[in-house]
Symmetry: C2
Subunit: 256 residues, 2 copies
């Protein structure tokens, strides 16, 4: 049974409190505050209805031992080898993803999709983080390990590119990494468990971000994407204080 | 080239204005308002940093003729027939999805995943809306059309069920419906174009909601899911005024 007692999001923190207390303040000093008080009155309906933003405030990093989304798909298509072989396979997968997203970012630029171009660039850099983590670990096992050459990618239109990206991320988060994590646990390779776990968790967020970008392809926002430099998690917008995967603070994130 | 000038989300409407003006009000009447004023001061840091919620305020329904996410996947696996045959195939697909999500909701209940159970129930009802739209149209072409029997579904764990659901929705939004829409356009069957278009757009949001639920499986929120009774769009939380697919007002939505 999963621990479902924790809440990562808190409702708008003091923003909500400030809004609630505004009514009381206005009642207490309506005459002094008239000019300021007229702003919210001008659009009174949304003032009471518009919700405060949820702010992601994680306090505990998920663990492969206890999280509820680490089961590999029943019809798994992943070939599982030793953890060293799995590291090589993961590096190859992440290298392909990096090449894809770099090409997709250029295609989005050409089509005028700024939001999508920024997301693909951010995600390409996220996958480079995974490559470095996995490559360093593989070199600990065999110092002669070399990085593969990136493939050449022919992008399609940005809509198709986003779906292609989402499909790849979903495969990695739901099948490849869960299978590799299980093997690393069997080998009691805790470093590999941690590296694969962080990548697995990040890929699922990438897929969600791709679908959001797909749904808003013609109605994009100018929200900033933020990349966690430790694990490759990507956040969209300002409403977070730390990484939900590794707890790195927002201040350490890179903006796109 | 897509029209990317439109913004569907507006930043927190009057909520932001109320928050901004609070400082002025506090300055103007600090002594009268002390008890209320202390609430925001107790957590002053987030008060200035916490963003207002984005509020989805759509004003224009997307069209298959102009939207940028209607291209079918280049490696399409969809068998395209006449629009009548495509309606039957869509009804069969949606009937399978409804049966899956109903079984997945029961599995989530048993595992104690309330957020996921609500989402699967909401999505099952969304697919029933698509079935009715497609069935009514198929009956206009052939009054003898009958609905298929739903399949029997054996659910897995909720993590796997969410991924299975997301994969199905992504296939429908990116391959099946775009292929059927293209055929309906060729046949100049505008009713079918509209029914398939709304279903296509709704499925992409369903996939995004499934990935959100997957990512927050152990840190769920108690946010309400809202189902559009016209097209099957699903919103999570309060921050919207109308359906981004068909513009139905929030007041007409069903809560889960």
């Amino acid at each position: 049974m999963a621990d479902v007692s924790r809440r990562l999001f808190v409702k708008g923190a003091a923003l909500g409190a400030a809004t609630l207390s505004t009514a009381g303040i206005l009642a207490a000093c309506a005459s002094e505050a008239k000019p300021a008080a007229e702003e919210p009155k001008a659009d009174a309906e949304p003032q009471t209805q518009a919700p405060a933003a949820d702010v992601l405030t994680p306090t505990k990093a998920p663990s492969a031992d206890t999280a509820s989304n680490f089961e590999a798909m029943p019809d798994s298509i992943t070939t599982v080898g030793t953890t060293y072989e799995n590291l090589l396979a993961a590096i190859e997968g992440e290298t392909g993803a990096t090449a894809k997203y770099t090409a997709y970012a250029e295609a989005a630029d050409k089509e005028g999709f700024d939001q999508i171009a920024r997301l693909f660039r951010c995600t390409a850099d996220a996958e480079k983080i995974h490559i470095e983590l996995e490559y360093n670990l593989a070199k600990e096992i065999d110092p002669a390990t070399e990085k593969p050459e990136p493939p050449t990618i022919e992008p399609h239109g940005s809509g198709v590119n986003l779906i292609s990206g989402a499909n790849g991320e979903i495969y990695e988060t739901s099948d490849m990494y869960p299978s590799f994590i299980k093997k690393a646990q069997e080998e009691d390779n805790q470093k590999a468990v941690q590296v694969f776990t962080r990548a697995k968790l990040a890929e699922a967020y990438h897929a969600e971000r791709y679908l959001d970008a797909y749904n808003t392809i013609d109605t994009p926002s100018d929200d900033t994407y933020y990349l966690c430099p430790i694990c490759g998690y990507i956040h969209k917008g300002e409403n977070f204080t730390a990484c939900p995967i590794c707890l790195a603070p927002k201040e350490s994130f890179t903006a796109y």
